[in-house]
């Protein structure tokens, strides 16, 4: 025993300080670069963004002198910001409900191990494998108001129903939600399907023996048991709504900013107009919006995991 210990001690370079011979310290040392990188590139950067939002930096040349709430005042008084807030609500409502309703419906339909499940699952999730930029590009072509999908609608006999899609001056954002849901509803389907498959068969059998039909089964057993999945889906789609950037960047902001988003507004102010202070205010606003969406979710998930 004694000789083994001394053999180990010899195998460590004698120059290594004593505190480094402890494996726990090595572990911390291994993690340290990542901690520093995340601390700087995520948290310090966010604090920095917050500071830039109260600085005078509104031209290409760096100017970090303190400006008070000037940029925030400008933001609050900017009509484009008001439109973007309205757009955020429109987008979140349309996108979240489509993702959750379609995702749940498709998972419920696939849950009975029907024939062709693998094919359907593969197709439903395929848009998630491509970039949002691709979604925007394809749907922009499909939603050309004078043709595209509207030709199909006309061929079905609804000649007078010609939606303007993303060109609509008020509701263009709802057309964008289709592009988002096209990509993400399959993801939500996968979450629900995994949740449904994790429900023990005995539970289902017991409910059936008690005389529950399919509807009752879903209402009283499955939907309550899937609450954590719904929570996940709400948080992911909610956070996605706030960060929405790719599609307006492809499609454009539409008539009267009808398809503009906070993310794109921030990008344009900052990197096209060099209004760094204003851009930072928008970015900080987006962070503040995201925190109450994400934080309760993470706390509840991590608490459950500990148990």
């Amino acid at each position: 025993m004694h000789s083994e210990l001394s053999a180990r001690a010899k195998s460590l370079p004698a120059l290594l300080p004593k505190w480094l011979r402890d494996d726990r310290r090595i572990a911390i040392l291994v993690l340290a670069p990542s901690i520093i990188a995340v601390a700087v590139f995520i948290y310090i950067f966010m604090g920095w963004t917050l500071y830039i939002s109260v600085s005078n930096w509104d031209r290409p040349a760096l100017d970090l002198s303190f400006a008070g709430l000037k940029n925030w005042q400008r933001l609050v008084n900017d009509p484009r910001f008001h439109i973007d807030l309205r757009n955020l609500v429109l987008f979140a409502v349309g996108y979240m409900s489509q993702c959750i309703v379609i995702g749940f419906l498709l998972a419920a339909l696939l849950n009975d191990r029907i024939r062709g499940e693998v094919f359907f699952r593969t197709v439903f999730l395929m848009p998630f494998a491509v970039s949002a930029v691709v979604s925007g590009t394809a749907w922009r072509w499909l939603q050309v108001p004078s043709a595209g999908i509207n030709l199909l609608i006309a061929n079905l006999g609804f000649e007078n129903f010609r939606p303007l899609w993303y060109m609509h001056p008020k509701l263009g954002m709802l057309a964008i939600t289709i592009m988002g849901a096209w990509q993400f509803s399959g993801f939500v389907m996968a979450l629900y399907l995994a949740g449904l498959r994790a429900i023990p068969d005995e539970l289902r059998e017991a409910a059936v023996i008690d005389g529950a039909g399919t509807v009752a089964l879903y209402r009283h057993v499955f939907i309550p048991m899937l609450r954590p999945v719904t929570f996940t889906a709400i948080v992911l789609t909610g956070a996605g709504s706030i960060g929405n950037f790719e599609i307006p960047s492809i499609i454009g902001t539409g008539p009267g900013f009808a398809t503009d988003t906070l993310g794109f507004y921030m990008f344009e102010q900052t990197f096209r107009s060099s209004r760094y202070g204003l851009g930072a205010a928008v970015a900080t606003f987006m962070l503040f919006l995201s925190i109450p969406v994400v934080l309760p979710y993470l706390i509840s998930v991590l608490r459950e995991e500990k148990e």
């Binding site: 590139f41 920095w48 339909l109 593969t122 999730l125 072509w141 595209g148 948080v235 492809i250 970015a283």
Partner: protein, 275 residues
């Protein structure tokens, strides 16, 4: 009873097929439009079959974006490898060498991952400029490595937490240290997780757009996602080129998804914290 069943069954399939069509139509139209020469492109003929098989648009799009495609390869591979490897080491520390406060650190990692990227863009550009990496492929790779740390650490942590502590304790008694245990116990068990995380990171980095646009906006150095954007902002919109470009950009991730769907699904479920 059986008629009723038949009705329910066929309604089910009708709904599933309708949604399958919804998910496939954009791909179908991209292929259809990409196969037409420019003179046959009209939004009124979007649904018409091409008159003949013409790969001219794909050739033309490829000629304009091949360098962007290879840029994406050059960015994705090192970005995915480094962030996956870092995630494995970090996950190992979090799962098997937890110290006071390590839970809080993991929590902060994951929390940062869910916040919008706009919150860090301005300082990122500033720091990259300062380091001489702004507008350079290496700058974007570095950013992807760093912003990949939270998700990769989380995925490995969740897997390593399921490795029994007894295995680790036993090899500690055998005289293995931090790296010995990692090499002899942890790494040999990690193959599938490396595959899951690697696939997930490759897809995410390949498809990323916001940071790529800000850091590598220069058309010659940009990755494919930015190249698609550049196709779509040309004066007169060459729909055939755009669709061909979007398809070319999607081929690698769709191929990975179709070939390695199981790994992709696991990354998705674990990464959303509900696996």
């Amino acid at each position: 009873m059986s008629l009723n069943r038949l009705l329910v069954g066929s309604t089910k399939y009708a709904v599933l097929i309708a949604f399958a069509a919804f998910y496939l139509v954009p791909f179908y139209v991209m292929i259809l439009t990409g196969l037409k020469p420019l003179e046959d492109i009209s939004s009124f003929e979007i649904w018409n079959m091409p008159k003949s098989l013409d790969f001219g648009s794909f050739r033309e799009a490829w000629n304009q974006m091949d360098s962007n495609f290879w840029n994406s390869v050059r960015i994705t591979i090192p970005g995915a490898i480094v962030s996956t490897f870092l995630g494995s080491l970090n996950g190992y520390v979090f799962a098997k060498w937890g110290f006071r406060g390590s839970n809080v650190i993991l929590f902060l990692f994951v929390f940062g991952m869910f916040l919008p990227g706009q919150g860090i863009l301005i300082p990122l550009v500033w720091v990259l400029q300062f380091m001489g990496l702004y507008g350079k492929v290496n700058g974007l790779i570095m950013a992807y490595c760093i912003f990949g740390i939270p998700i990769t650490s989380l995925l490995f942590y969740r897997y390593y937490a399921s490795v029994p502590d007894e295995l680790v304790d036993a090899s500690k008694i055998d005289g293995c240290g931090f790296f010995g245990i990692y090499r002899r116990i942890i790494l040999p068990l990690s193959g599938p997780t490396f595959a899951v995380v690697g696939v997930w990171q490759c897809t995410r980095i390949w498809n990323e757009y916001l940071m790529a646009l800000v850091v590598l906006g220069n058309p010659a150095r940009a990755p494919v996602t930015v190249a698609i954007k550049n196709f779509s902002s040309m004066g007169v919109i060459p729909w055939n080129l755009q669709m061909a470009a979007a398809l070319i950009a999607s081929v690698p991730t769709i191929a990975v998804y179709l070939l390695l769907g199981k790994l992709f699904m696991r990354g998705l479920l674990e990464g959303s914290l509900s696996g």
